[in-house]
């Protein structure tokens, strides 16, 4: 039988190279991506069976990328492979359409099992995630305790600003006008209750959109 085709998305090349060696005996790693936007492009181009993705990635985080992939590549099963161990992350991941959620502190066998499960159309959740699979799927079915406070586009702009990018860079990356960037930033200032970039950054860190120090 043909080996399942995998796409790996993680900011850190060293991590991707290591994962590739763990996965290659059983799966075919057809591509990799170092940020959420490359992930979208690669997934559409390669149409993998399964994509492994981290939550915090430059340009576009894994959760927001997953939401888009659910529409763009509905046949690609998504497995989050992440350092973020909190139960809220697991719930958000499944809410965004994940088939699996594996912590990076897991053993290789667990990751391989999760990929096999996803390929067979099943769900998988790391036992260390802090809640059961039944619980997480139940939570994920609801939209959440309150409506998401930021729109997807606002989250995109917020992540890029917290990454230290200028308005011009944000406009180029998102392929919108400078005025569009300014418009979204005003909305962000209103919703976050501040126009201070330092406070936006703290919020973005808390949301897992960016890491604490540059480069991840």
């Amino acid at each position: 039988m043909k080996r399942p085709r995998l796409l790996l998305a993680d900011e850190h090349q060293m991590v991707r190279e290591g994962l590739q060696r763990i996965l290659e005996p059983e799966f075919e790693v057809v591509g990799e991506a170092g940020d959420g936007r490359s992930l979208l492009l690669a997934a559409q181009r390669l149409r993998p069976d399964v994509a492994l993705l981290e939550i915090t990635m430059p340009l576009l985080n894994g959760i927001d990328a997953a939401r888009q992939l659910r529409k763009l590549c509905p046949h690609t099963k998504l497995i989050f492979l992440t350092a973020h161990a909190g139960r809220e992350y697991a719930i958000e991941a499944f809410r965004a359409g994940a088939a699996g959620f594996v912590l990076k502190r897991s053993k290789p066998e667990e990751l391989l099992g999760a990929v096999r499960a996803a390929f067979q159309g099943k769900h998988y959740l790391s036992p260390d995630a802090g809640l059961s699979l039944a619980e997480v799927l139940r939570e994920a079915r609801h939209a959440g305790p309150e409506k998401p406070p930021l729109t997807p586009r606002q989250r995109e702009v917020l992540q890029l600003v917290a990454e230290g990018r200028s308005n011009k860079e944000v406009a180029t990356i998102l392929n919108i006008s400078l005025k569009g960037v300014e418009f979204h930033k005003s909305a962000l200032a209103r919703k976050l209750g501040t126009n201070r970039i330092s406070e936006w950054t703290l919020y973005a860190i808390g949301q897992g959109l960016v890491f604490r120090s540059r480069g991840g």
């Binding site: 060293m14 230290g164 330092s198 703290l202 860190i205 808390g206 540059r214």
Partner: protein, 224 residues
């Protein structure tokens, strides 16, 4: 000649196992550890030639673990492999006697090179780390491990910047002029190799000067 023996310290088992497979063609992976305390124990027990350490380890962080290891085993070569490109960590690493420092965004080939250099008694700083330093003098200083420290005052200013205070507010709080605050800001950015409120905030969080609220499902202190 026997392959050099390497110990790996990282709390992400999948990362450790990946590194093992990257290193094994050339090195002998003598052991692994998932936290700083276990790493110090294993270093003593296994007496490796070199140790690859992640900075963010539980129980005891990688820098502290390296300090303790170096005290009893000064000859062991330490290579930090980390996500933190913040130059303050780089400074700390070389101050405690590390041989190498590279980011996880480097390639496996870079890690192999770092270990070769370290075991040969030389130092190695990953290309990704020094790339961000524009000032050539500062870059040279970092590459040789001579890194300028933040003063106590600069740490104070950095903390207030990250808390969202304006230059005027900081000036008032510290009883200095706004112009002095701006001067400190420039010095801080120069020493850390980063600039802009976003990067400075992230640095302050990395240094433990300020904590982000865990606001995953809400707005935290600001309200919607």
């Amino acid at each position: 000649m026997r392959p050099s023996r390497v110990l790996i310290g990282d709390d992400h088992t999948l990362v450790v196992e990946g590194l093992r497979r990257i290193l094994e063609p050339e090195f002998e992976v003598a052991g692994t550890a998932n936290d700083g305390e276990a790493l110090v124990r294993e270093a003593l027990r296994l007496q490796p030639d070199a140790i690859v350490i992640n900075i963010s380890l539980p129980l005891v962080d990688g820098l502290e673990a390296a300090r303790r290891i170096k005290k009893r085993q000064p000859g062991v070569k330490i290579v930090f492999l980390t996500i933190h490109s913040n130059l303050g960590y780089l400074r700390e690493a070389f101050r405690l006697g590390a041989s190498g420092y590279l980011l996880k965004r480097s390639s496996g080939k870079d890690l192999l090179q770092a270990l070769r250099e370290a075991i040969a008694g030389r130092t190695y700083v990953g290309p990704e780390t020094t790339k961000q330093i524009q000032d050539p003098e500062l870059r040279k200083a970092f590459e040789s491990g001579q890194v300028p420290e933040l003063t106590e005052r600069q740490r104070e200013v950095l903390k207030l910047i990250a808390s969202g205070q304006s230059d005027e507010e900081i000036a008032r709080q510290l009883s200095i002029t706004a112009r002095t605050v701006r001067f400190h800001r420039v010095q801080i950015a120069r020493k850390l190799g980063v600039a802009g409120p976003a990067e400075l905030t992230k640095t302050a969080v990395a240094y433990g000067l300020v904590r982000p609220e865990q606001t995953f499902s809400g707005m935290g202190r600001h309200g919607a």
